[in-house]
């Protein structure tokens, strides 16, 4: 795995985060949600954290429905 690629486990979900740049003192890159095979780009650290949070919230909502 590339040194700028990180695997993150969160709430039983796996994410592959690929940091492609760090302009303006923040991070830009892509995040792959492995279980759902969904990929999104992020423009900042804030957007990356929001994406991770939205995935966890989606899983929690699905758990409540089942």
């Amino acid at each position: 795995m590339d040194k700028k690629t990180r695997k993150v486990e969160l709430y039983g979900q796996t994410f592959i985060i690929d940091i492609k740049g760090s302009h303006n003192n923040t991070w830009q890159g892509t995040i792959l949600w492995v279980q759902k095979q969904k990929k999104e780009s992020f423009r900042s650290t804030l957007e990356l954290i929001r994406l991770l949070d939205s995935a966890v919230e989606t899983v929690k909502e699905e758990e409540q429905k089942n």
Partner: protein, 152 residues
């Protein structure tokens, strides 16, 4: 000479919030957020949670308005409406009375450009100030930059 009795003390701006720390160590970053335009006290349990909660608080206040709609794996967020004069739910005195055992910071969010935050942080214990242009810089200031002179 200016008559000081006529001088009005500046009110806390609606785009300022107070971050009160119950714990402020790398492995434990907990506390609560409050503000004159923040209706309820919001608890946070780690640094990422603090970022999410602060962003949500400012989305509700509507000032400053974010310049981008942030991407999401869930449903796409509705554009956050701008509010020129946010409703004030608390008095300045109520907010100024709030203090965390491990440090208290006042955050003034000026803009939210480039899917990030730009603003200022003041440590209430030391009066030391710092500017931030991203969430990473903001967390760094809370965690290290203003730490030396602050309690905790």
């Amino acid at each position: 000479m200016m008559d000081m009795s006529d001088t009005k003390q500046a009110k806390l701006p609606a785009n300022s919030i107070r971050i009160c720390f119950r714990e402020r160590r790398p492995e434990c970053f907990q506390g609560w957020i409050c503000g004159v335009a923040c209706k309820d006290v919001v608890e946070f349990y780690d640094a990422a949670d603090l970022i999410i909660k602060i962003d949500s608080v400012y989305n509700r206040i509507g000032h400053p308005q974010p310049h981008q709609i942030l991407r999401s794996f869930g449903e796409t967020d509705e554009p956050c409406a701008y509010c020129g004069q946010p409703e004030r739910y608390h008095t300045d005195e109520e907010i100024k009375a709030m203090h965390g055992e491990e440090g208290t910071f006042e955050m003034l969010m000026l803009t939210r450009h480039s899917a990030e935050w730009q603003g200022m942080l003041t440590c209430m214990e030391s009066g030391k100030r710092g500017k931030f242009a991203t969430t990473l810089e903001c967390i760094r200031l809370l965690n290290e930059g203003l730490r030396s002179d602050c309690h905790g």
